[in-house]
Symmetry: C2
Subunit: 240 residues, 2 copies
């Protein structure tokens, strides 16, 4: 069966996240599978590289799917753009090698968390950027971030407990980008636990606001206790 690689962007605001849940209509995977199945007149199952939570956006979600019959990629992409809702955008569609699988083949992912440090509201980015007025100590945040990267047990930054599954992940880098009134945190790693980026961001924000110390990061990690880390930053600021 021919195998395809589809790249999507979406605004997650009105969805319950990427992953189909029972009969939940309002998921991005659900909307996409329905659109593709209708277009191609066969049941299509899609795999996504990252399972974004409810309200989280994607600038570039890589997906894969197989179809019974070979597709004209350019034509299918155009058709898909016509049928997808306006908050889901199809960026590219190409034929993939037979063994490609969006989730299993994915070697690293980057999430971006956007923070607005000005107290002046910006109505145009309000769905994508968390307002956090006041001065953030970015140097302290960098010092804390440096202690969170590497191959570590991130149990303290995971909101969903499942004692059987490993909570060890490789977090390669946390990059800081400051531009005007915005601070962006880029997290690159091999995989992320449930709410991991949001709780890392909440913890770094608390460091930036001097509500906790950068030096406390090793203690939080070794506690493996979610209650010891910072708050879970809202979904709206996050995108894959």
């Amino acid at each position: 069966m021919p195998n395809y690689r589809l790249t999507l962007c979406y605004e997650g605001t009105r969805y319950r996240g990427w992953q189909k849940q029972g009969n939940a209509e309002n998921t991005i995977q659900g909307k996409l599978e329905a659109a593709l199945s209708r277009l191609l007149s066969e049941p299509i199952e899609v795999s996504g590289c990252g399972r974004t939570d409810a309200g989280v956006h994607a600038r570039e979600q890589v997906c894969s799917f197989r179809s019974q019959t070979p597709l004209d990629c350019a034509e299918t992409l155009q058709a898909l753009r016509r049928v997808l809702p306006e908050d889901i955008g199809a960026i590219a569609l190409i034929e993939a090698e037979p063994r490609f699988h969006a989730r299993l083949s994915c070697q690293s992912k980057t999430y971006c968390y956007r923070i607005r440090t000005s107290e002046i509201p910006d109505v145009f980015t309000r769905r994508f950027v968390l307002p956090c007025p006041g001065s953030l100590d970015v140097n302290a945040m960098r010092a804390a971030a440096a202690q969170l990267t590497g191959e570590r047990d991130f149990a303290a930054f995971c909101s969903l407990k499942n004692s059987k599954k490993s909570t060890v992940r490789k977090l390669w880098r946390i990059d800081f980008q400051e531009a005007g009134d915005e601070l962006r945190l880029y997290y690159t790693g091999d995989g992320f636990l449930y709410n991991m980026v949001r709780s890392l961001t909440g913890t770094l924000l608390e460091v930036g606001l001097h509500r906790r110390e950068a030096a406390d990061m090793p203690l939080i990690l070794s506690s493996r206790d979610r209650a010891k880390a910072g708050f879970t930053a809202p979904a709206l600021g996050l995108s894959l």
Copy 2:
């Protein structure tokens, strides 16, 4: 009575424009006057520098109003931010000199029309940027724009007929800014007729798509006939 100058930004998507219309609730002026009147416990009337149409946004709308009692500007600004809807943002509030009036004192305004030239959808800017996939001949658009600036009778670019009122305006400049997949047109002038920026943009887009010639601009202007000019570009791409 103390006089104040308030700067706003707003996303116009769900409003019927700036100006109050009878009992129309869904106008930006209406929302703002209701919020200020409630906050200050007195009826407040607001004047705006530009009357944006339904669906048009503002990055910086300057308003003025008078109150019976002197205000603490910083405090009132904070309070206003708490009570305004999330798609209206209060940027700044200062005391103004007694004779300042947002509309009458306004000497020039700049509108920006944003156009996305890529065929790849961008879900994050879809409410603010008009998609116009395909190649635009920007040089031809510049040549046409050069013939539209100056003090001219813009009757051919006005959708609302009122034979008693002058349709002469000074359009100082039309600036082009190209960045990545986006083309921005900035219109600066002393005042604008109803739908003027949108019909200028529609006409320039038709030139960019080679559906009409840059050399036709003088004929369109002298016709004073709306039907001779191009289409009215959608409101969503426009902001004050």
